[in-house]
Symmetry: none
Subunit: 186 residues, 4 copies
Amino acid sequence: MRLKDQDKQQRIKDAMVRLILREGIDGASVSKIAKEAGVSPATIYVYYDSKEEMLAEVFREYSRAPYRYLMQRVRPDMDGDTLIETIVRGCYSFSREHEDVFSFVEQCSRCPTLSERVSEEECSCDILDLIHSYQTRGVLRTYSDWNVGAVLFAPVRFLAMNRCMQTSEEDQLSELIRMLQALLLY
Amino acid sequence: MRLKDQDKQQRIKDAMVRLILREGIDGASVSKIAKEAGVSPATIYVYYDSKEEMLAEVFREYSRAPYRYLMQRVRPDMDGDTLIETIVRGCYSFSREHEDVFSFVEQCSRCPTLSERVSEEECSCDILDLIHSYQTRGVLRTYSDWNVGAVLFAPVRFLAMNRCMQTSEEDQLSELIRMLQALLLY
Amino acid sequence: MRLKDQDKQQRIKDAMVRLILREGIDGASVSKIAKEAGVSPATIYVYYDSKEEMLAEVFREYSRAPYRYLMQRVRPDMDGDTLIETIVRGCYSFSREHEDVFSFVEQCSRCPTLSERVSEEECSCDILDLIHSYQTRGVLRTYSDWNVGAVLFAPVRFLAMNRCMQTSEEDQLSELIRMLQALLLY
Amino acid sequence: MRLKDQDKQQRIKDAMVRLILREGIDGASVSKIAKEAGVSPATIYVYYDSKEEMLAEVFREYSRAPYRYLMQRVRPDMDGDTLIETIVRGCYSFSREHEDVFSFVEQCSRCPTLSERVSEEECSCDILDLIHSYQTRGVLRTYSDWNVGAVLFAPVRFLAMNRCMQTSEEDQLSELIRMLQALLLY
DNA sequence: CATGAATGAGAATTCATTCAT
DNA sequence: GATGAATGAATTCTCATTCAT
């Protein structure tokens, strides 16, 4: 029973995220989501109080997803080069493997009514803690958290958004990694 | 026969962009836009065939706006440091002075049904041409266009999105500028 | 979960048909129909996918109505005179007793976008089967189905459409019946 | 100048009739008609006070068209057989050669708000006068005008409406002609 | 818990018509 | 006379949500 419910809620989330990838945030109506999830519209209101709350709640949850994904790939004993490479490649492969979640979070984070509810900081805090330790150890240069986050995550997301790269993905990524290594490492 | 009122169309665009800043892309209905612009909903259809086309058309037009804004501030005879500072500060002040257009473009460019209609490249081409000349002259390091664009524009936009900075805006920006100067200049 | 209210759907059909009698096919808007049926406009879309489909579906159903009405009045053991009289009088009284359905079907069958969806043949087939048997028995002359249908149904409908007859309805009808008996019986 | 105007009004009529053939009476909006006619919507109001009046006026005019068409084909000195053949074939070929006008009149004559404005009688009066003379001369049997009209015009129009005939058009028509000759001639 | 029916409010869009030129 | 812009009212239809089961 418990599993059944969990599963149903998960199907709703998946449906919403998939739909928003396909049709944009304004194309995802409750009934479409319900149909995509294979449940009744009314069922959605068993799990969420309103569409607004559903969006916000799932946005809050999925905002952390890319950082969780990263945390499973980085190790505290990596050297600086590897850390940066792992982060950049991780960001990129997350956007490929979880295209729907990536697009969902990108869209929500630009929507003024949603973004104010979730702060970037609390999502990336684990990664930032790790980075702090590298800074303390004198491996990474010491810049403000926002700027480190800005250069580590924004450019690779920018590339992930604009699929059509001139050169191969691999070359593009490698170059960016080298750039960021030069920028951030001593 | 009345002539098409140029001013009226501009009011419609402004209203749309303002509304999307306030309520997000899914909160901007045709009637709200009309009310905000002080025209009848039907009038909007004199200028655009559909809401979808209106969004796309205005998105296409305004996508270039930040780059045009930049082009008016950079000079080909600037030294490398100043060029980067001007670009980064320009990006940031555009986002402040034209908050609505900035937010509008950010939102549209994340919406899958809209973004595929406008390519980043063709918007930034003038700036990229300028950068090429600096690269040729041996002032800027030679990286691929996408990566240069990614590090020059994405981080500062990221900061502009997440208003609430720990330190002062000025310090934050200065630091980012110094980082990018170190990264991109010989 | 509420069950689909059979009665509600019938009220919608009735309302539509009544309205089309009063205001013509182009005067029957979804909201007027809803008001006439005492339901919300949205409810109509629970039962039909679109106005077009609603019209077509109800047209298809009601196209058979006059023929069903006739079938309940004719008997296989009637003599030829009585058969023709029953058919003609049946057609006429149907148009009087079910003025709305009659007018509805007449209007729809002239509308090019609707008429192509419903064939006259499949509606009148039962009556035609009966007529075939009278032809086989040598009671009715053998003409093609279309021509038999044309002379049996079209003239009386024509009279039913143009209410204002010179002489009394009864005399008019009796004469037509005598004409068709002479034409169709040996 | 005069010709120009006449021509423009004719183009409007043609456009309306054509559109109603294609999309039905409820698909013919003023702007569509204007576009089809190649004029401005406002121009239509130079010639007609309202859409309602336009429809009614053109309906009134075109109601007579099939009878005028017939009158040009019948001659007072034809024998009875030829008269009936000419009328029936004339009705049918009119429906083929002027498909749009035929469909337009059929649709309007079933629309309750329009049909009450135009009486069948005054349209067919010339033909009926001719028929009267044949009746006086003892060629045609004497039935009431409505019944004569009903059997002479309704069946062939019925065939014209339901294009898809089993046998060839020619055989179908010939048979109907023979039937009506037998019915109406001494 | 789960549902499909039901709906008031509002969406996008079109309508018939008028107005200023 | 002729026009395209402009619009209030109405169109078809969808939305987020609730209700009865």
